[in-house]
């Protein structure tokens, strides 16, 4: 495998994930440097979530290598943060917002140690960053979708990672939350951190992200938005069902 002078945040090589011997992610090569906001887009069933989960070792790979900052995931774990989809969790679990955020610190605490004052302060700080400090003691079932999403983000923030994976953070959130997430992402980039985000809204890709990866089981194209987010690539990714505004503006929708 070619080695770079400074290790990249993420290097995926020849990744294939199969389900019942059919590939759902096929032969993907992806390199992501530090300080980048990357969007992964593609139609439904394109394998976007699968790609992330396979990279994190949550589902088994049929083939391929993944390196985080030049080493394996197990060794780089404390540098990587994960924000799963909101729907993967039962929000009626008896716990409050602060508690969920503190769960992000369990990895640091290790077995048997209890979260204490220090952890609580870190968690409160993260809640402030997402504008949720007033909801700290709120039962999570009483949160709106956007508030739930911000809670998840705060949980990822306390991990103080260098590389963040986010699975559809913008899905079905209110405008306030959307703004909060964007601010957060830009904050991360300013600090030289990386965020890889599965995104469903093509319209906002150029606005929110620097780079984009177009995925439909295979990687169609990846790179800076300006050069990669082209009508031709989009047509290949979405199978030709993409429409454009008449004046050629860079706004893309699906029919």
């Amino acid at each position: 495998m070619p080695h770079h002078k400074t290790p990249l945040a993420l290097e995926i090589h020849d990744l294939t994930v199969a389900y019942q011997s059919k590939p759902v992610v096929w032969d993907v090569d992806l390199s992501v440097s530090e300080g980048v906001l990357l969007a992964i887009v593609g139609p439904n069933g394109a394998g976007k979530s699968t790609l992330i989960k396979a990279a994190l070792g949550l589902i088994p790979r049929a083939s391929g290598d993944v390196e985080f900052f030049g080493t394996s995931y197990a060794q780089a774990r404390d540098k990587v943060g994960y924000v799963p989809q909101r729907g993967s969790v039962d929000w009626d679990f008896p716990t409050n917002t602060l508690d969920v955020v503190m769960m992000g610190l369990y990895g640091q605490l290790g077995w048997f140690k209890r979260p204490g004052k220090r952890e609580r302060e870190i968690a409160m700080h993260a809640l402030q960053q997402v504008g949720m400090q007033d909801f700290a003691t709120r039962q999570i079932s009483q949160l709106s979708g956007g508030q739930q999403q911000r809670t998840f983000l705060a949980r990822a923030l306390v991990q103080d990672a260098q590389l963040y994976f986010m699975d559809e953070p913008f899905a079905a959130v209110d405008a306030v939350t959307e703004r909060a997430i964007v601010t957060l992402l830009q904050d991360l980039r300013a600090k030289g951190k990386t965020a890889i985000v599965v995104h469903h809204d093509l319209q906002t890709v150029p606005e929110y992200f620097d780079q984009v990866a177009l995925l439909n089981k295979q990687l169609i194209a990846a790179g800076p938005v300006a050069t990669t987010f082209t009508p031709e690539n989009l047509r290949q990714t979405y199978g030709g069902r993409v429409s454009f505004l008449a004046d050629g503006a860079q706004v893309v929708g699906m029919d």
Binding site: D14, S21, W26, S63, Q218
Partner: protein, 494 residues
Amino acid sequence: MYPLEHIILQFLQVFFSQDAINGVLGHPQTVAIMVGGLIALAGALPGTFLLLRGMSLTTDAISHTVLLGIVVAFIVLAALSGTTPDLSSPLLIMGAAGAGVVTVILTEMLYRSGLVRQDAALGLAFPLLFAISIILVSRYISNVHLDIDSVMIGEIGVAWTDTTSHCFAHCESVTITSDDARAVVKRECSNCVSENLYPRDARAVFENLCDNCRTYTPGEAWSRGYSTQKPELIFFPKSLTIMGVLTLVTVLFVTIFYKELKLATFDNGLAASLGLRPGALHYALMTLVSLVAVGAFNAVGSILVVAFFIIPAAAAYLLTDRLSRMLMIAPVIGILGAITGYDLSRGSVLGLFQMSDILKQLDGPLHLKGYTTWNVSISASMVIMLLILFIIAWVLSPRYGLIALAVRRWQQSRQFADILILGHISHHEGTPEAPEELNAATLYEHFHWSKRAMQWSLARLRALRLVQIEQEQVVLTERGREHLMNFRQEMGVR
């Protein structure tokens, strides 16, 4: 019940002699299998729909709570009629089935409150109802014949003994009163028991009590010599009637409402919007389940009837993709279980070997003290056979069985391995890294395969003329390229 049985018997006597009919109906094995077969049919049909809805365990809940229904119906009927109700009376059955419906309603109410999840709701409803019924039984009914064990566990082997007698000729019942010539009069102490006295006690009161003064059925009269002509009797097992009626109702219900049940099971929302009243259908189905559970408790016991709801349907689910076929295969499996189950209870496993042989082997190590006969609960044996049949289906099913799965997986992984390699070549050919990526000797490293596995695959691919080796690199042939393109098209990928 009685008139129905009578008509059926009159019909049968056109073709068969009374002795033949009594021979069949009095044969334990035949009756047990007939009743078991009916339960299998009545269970498999609703069980199929419930399995598809993910509601298999409600049958378990219902079978526990019908005990409450039986108890309450029993108490109510006893209080109303002043006598001990017959355990096979239709009123008792219907009242008992009500308890099953109550369970479902209670579960729904708990779930609809929004505070409890479905599985927890079920787990709250039925233990409570079951607990109440056990308390009632031990408190109030322990002196009457309603043994918990027989209700819960049952024994189908005695189904043939609980009969109603039907008389077809010389049917005179005989009543003996105290002035009848045949009356046997004895001088007995009438208050010794109630006042705890010895007969020699001065307070003991002696009366002339008639020993045999009551009404005798024709059969009893004949056997005691009170009548001159032998009545022609046929003994019809009660459980046969009950299960017969219930099975018929179930079959009719499923046949008449087949399309509605099918749609409601598959897409509840659509069914509702089409006005098919899936809610009412659901309760009707649950009522049917309750009725069958009650009807079967006499024979199989209410715990084991659940097996007839769940297991045959599950086995059928592995054998076919069509609902109509599933509804036909499930009862067959159930009936098969009933038939072979009887043999198992007597110690013969599918006719292949004997339990007593196994027990003789185990006598030493387990200190069985020579108890090597295997003669156990028939109901339990039928369920065990159902489990064995399920396992057979699980392993051998042509489409979904474990063997078929393994074969398919092996075939697919071989094809898949081929495609992985072809894809890898196509991906990297003509690129600067090609010499490293496509080097035949080190190719296995890129896939984390063993060297030998890679050699094997490469050999196969070369034999199929899909790749060749040129200058130490693997290269696609035209055929290989075509093969890959076909695969890509199939996958819907560029």
